[in-house]
């Protein structure tokens, strides 16, 4: 499939997110007027921990976990349509894989097809075929009967990734998916993601606080400042993947790294939670 087979866009317009303070005296602004337009490709959302990256990602997925209006103001458009609830176009992958411990690898990957929504849209035969393909794509065919507790962290993340891919989403939202893995496994998973992406290009939004990861994977890197999050920097990386170690040590890559670190540093010096009285 080529890029044009999966045309999809995400548009954020003046997104503001505020949470009421626990003591009820005001609100905490975590996202401060972000406007952003995303196209197919691997889009890295980089920022310090707790800067509101996940909040933005949740908005794109239409997931509303907390009883707060999300976003407080502004709109999220998927293909020009307002996104107000969980939708078929996007699937999220979390750092905590959320695999069911009582189900085998295969059953976990097949999990979405237990839901009415997908049973009505995907036939059993088609589901069967997709599960086979996806298990093979993430390299878990040999482990299909294993329980999550019998797998390593990397393998568990492969299960979570497979559960998302089995739905053939046009948008993949990844919330620090490899953050809890050791360096070796992380590198393997990054390779796998690139492989899967090259095979089936879609719109990936990948949240991370790892600068190297951003430079290894991204077509585009968006750097966010800390609370409240604003866009501090936004640039493209044209170097084709897989990116060699030689490239990563090149002047170009080192400059990008310094540029990102300078932004993150500037962002973290002014670190204070902004309080707005209401």
């Amino acid at each position: 499939m080529s890029d044009s087979a999966n045309p999809v866009s995400i548009e954020l317009k003046d997104i503001v997110q505020e949470y009421p303070h626990k003591d009820g005296t005001g609100v905490l602004r975590v996202v401060d007027g972000i406007s952003l337009s995303l196209q197919p490709g691997i889009n890295m959302l980089l920022g310090p921990s707790g800067c509101g990256k996940s909040t933005i990602l949740h908005m794109m997925g239409g997931v509303r976990p907390i009883g707060v209006q999300t976003p407080t103001s502004g709109t999220v458009l998927i293909d020009g349509k307002a996104c107000v609830e969980a939708h078929d176009d996007a699937v999220m992958v979390f750092q905590r894989y959320a695999n069911r411990p009582d189900l085998s690898v295969e059953e976990n990957v097949a999990f979405p097809f237990r839901l009415k929504h997908w049973r009505a849209r995907v036939s059993a035969a088609e589901a069967r075929q997709r599960i086979e393909e996806t298990l093979a794509a993430v390299g878990l065919s040999a482990h299909r009967k294993h329980l999550p507790s019998q797998l390593s962290g990397g393998q568990n993340q492969r299960v979570a990734l497979a559960r998302a891919l089995v739905l053939r989403p046009r948008i993949l939202l990844m919330d620090e998916p490899f953050g809890a893995l050791d360096a070796q496994t992380r590198a393997e998973m990054q390779q796998l993601l690139v492989q899967i992406y090259e095979h089936n290009p879609c719109l990936v939004v990948f949240v991370t606080h790892d600068v190297t990861e951003a430079l290894t994977l991204g077509d585009r890197v968006i750097v966010l400042s800390t609370q409240p999050a604003k866009i501090a920097d936004d640039f493209a990386i044209l170097e084709p993947r897989p990116r060699s170690v030689t490239w990563q040590r090149s002047t170009e890559a080192v400059r990008m790294e310094e540029r990102i670190l300078a932004q993150l540093h500037a962002a973290s010096t002014g670190r204070a939670s902004l309080r707005v009285s209401v």
């Binding site: 239409g62 996007a90 979390f94 959320a98 069911r100 009582d102 237990r114 009415k116 739905l167």
Partner: protein
């Protein structure tokens, strides 16, 4: 015991050592009991000797004169009551607990009606139960039910709420309705702790069985003890108590075993 294992809560203890220490402690108490009885320090009317209890146990197990087993009969009645009440507790308590766990609104409404009874003296409810339900079999089963269900419901609710939100969010993102997310993502993960709640509920019922059978019981272990006490047959009282403890332990171990087979994936915290 070595320095390393004495005040170290995390020290591994072999099954062998655990068993040896347990048996030694029980043996020590039995020995102390036997010594006290043998020296005649305490009157047998207050503390019957172990051998007297063993003899009473033999008599209760098989009464040759009348060709019957008082113990078997009493045990079957008590087990039957616990099973009947247990079925009610599971059939009514688990759904209520799950609903409360899944809906903060329902929980806010129902918990003030249920939670206080955990610390209320349920035994004091007995006269009320007698007034409402008479002195028949219904009253006994319902008493056991009320006594156990007030423990079970909050435990089931907490089991549901203890499941990390990530599972619910992930299922919702995949297209689950809120109810589907509860049913397919939250509930399966809460099952081991719900099983724990059932185990506690059954254990609670074993502690209440004597009380339930105090009133107008013609059969049952509680009645057996009550009857023996009336005739000052302390040896039989002791034998009856030991049987109840044995059954409570047996059912506890059995349920633990069944649970471990049903939910082998449960992570140890």
């Amino acid at each position: 015991m070595s320095e390393l294992t004495t005040w170290n809560p995390y020290a591994p203890l072999s099954a062998q050592t655990t068993r040896t220490l347990g048996i030694a402690a029980v043996a020590a108490v039995l020995l102390l009991w036997a010594v006290i009885s043998a020296t005649g320090l305490v009157s047998p009317n207050k503390l019957p000797a172990p051998w007297q209890v063993a003899k009473a146990f033999g008599y209760l197990a098989w009464d040759g004169e009348n060709g019957r087993s008082l113990l078997l009969n009493a045990t079957l009645w008590s087990v039957g009551r616990v099973l009947a009440a247990g079925a009610l507790v599971v059939a009514i308590g688990i759904p209520i607990g799950v609903l409360m766990g899944a809906s903060p609104r329902l929980n806010a409404a129902l918990s003030p009606l249920i939670d206080p009874f955990r610390s209320a003296p349920v035994v004091a409810l007995l006269p009320i139960m007698v007034m409402w339900f008479g002195i028949g079999e219904w009253m006994k089963v319902l008493f056991l039910f009320v006594g156990a269900v007030v423990y079970l419901i909050p435990m089931v609710r907490d089991a549901v709420r203890a499941v990390p939100q990530a599972y619910w969010i992930s299922a919702r993102d995949l297209g689950a309705t809120p109810l589907e997310a509860v049913r397919h993502a939250v509930l399966p993960l809460a099952m081991p702790r719900i099983a724990d709640a059932v185990i506690v509920a059954v254990s609670v019922m074993w502690t209440y069985i004597t009380v339930a059978e105090y009133v107008n019981a013609r059969e049952g272990l509680g009645q057996l003890i009550q009857n023996a006490r009336r005739f000052s047959a302390m040896d039989q009282v002791f034998a009856g108590i030991i049987v109840i403890i044995a059954f409570a332990l047996l059912s506890y171990q059995l349920m633990r075993y069944v649970k471990s087979r049903m939910y082998p994936w449960e992570t140890k915290l």
